[in-house]
Amino acid sequence: MIDTGPLDGPSNMALDEALLTCFDPGNSLPLLRIYGWSPPAFSLGRFQKPEEVVDLEGCARAGIPVVRRVTGGGCIFHAEELTYSIVCTPGQISDIVGVKESFRRLCGFLLLAYRRLGLSPAFAVDSLDRPTRLGERTPLCFAGTEEYDILVGGRKLGGNAQRRSRGLIFQHGSIPLQPALAQAQPYLRCPLPAGAASLAEAGVPLAQETLKEQLLVSFEEHLGISLRSSTPGREETEIAGQLRETKYCNDSWNLAGEAA
């Protein structure tokens, strides 16, 4: 378990990619990273066209970074939230290879954490008050609902996305503590999702540290493992530094999606 605290958008995405790049399927332990975002930033899905989603000039004027993720899904405004990332092999999660089933398995710790907080969460596919259409591609992450997104009172809480590469599973996800979409609205080029919630809106206003503790305990219980605190290794730190400068601070990747 690596807790890096809040970093800027390019540093966060660079470290996530470095952790995936350095993961050795034969030797590495499955990895959980917990982090935040400072300053607040937009992240785009791997294949999104930024001009269709955000006002890039407005973001630049306001000093809001826009970074592209290596994962799928839609745009997220990261402000008052806690973010996690996981790197593992399918063998480390009961040989689950399928994308949907791996989301169910890995997101289970979020369900458990939300239950511990007194909420009644459910996967969208299991929820009676789910939206009628699941799996639709939407510009904003929180506007679309996949089968294994988590709903609380019919509203989507957070969002999760994956990257599949070299047979590895990389997943990261966002857990909004406070409503932040109104802050993002002036910079968005698409309507705000009505069905998205934060923990505070669901009736659980929490400090980041309290949520972190709940997530870690729930992660251990859900997967039947013990987390060991760690820090990024030298190689991971070096690669993250290179990726930050050559990729995640560059328009060619962030805006055009062109890998260096």
């Binding site: 899905g45 791997r46 294949f47 290596v70 994962t71 799928g72 899904g73 290879v97 399928g98 994308v99 949907k100 989301f103 799996g135 591609r137 992450c141 996949e146 089968e147 969002g159 999760n160 996305a161 994956q162 990257r163 599949r164 590469s165 070299r166 047979g167």
Partner: protein
Amino acid sequence: MDYYFTKEHEWLRLDGQSGLVGITAYAVEQLGDITFVELPRPGREAKQSEVLCAVESVKAASDIYAPVSGRVLAVNEQVESGPEIVNQSPEEEGWLVRIELADPGELRSLMNREQYRDYLEGLS
């Protein structure tokens, strides 16, 4: 037509000096509904086992690897506008790329259909 398969679940259908490349029915089943396909530019030189293109399904971005080295001759524009074709017909209409083989010797590292079937059985 001769089909060749990779351990990463790509197929190559050889047709003279070039062949069509796509992903197998097993891969499609694991990926779920494909919502986006990113294809390489024609003319790009690909290397065996390196990333050739990518697909998005269920908020997962997945790399697709080149089964052989060679030059990309053409891409299937139909799947760019209609990615669901890959789900509906992964080994026919849902092909992704036509590639000109740089080294036919690389075919020896691929599986035939029977070997791929055995490989899949070993995975389950």
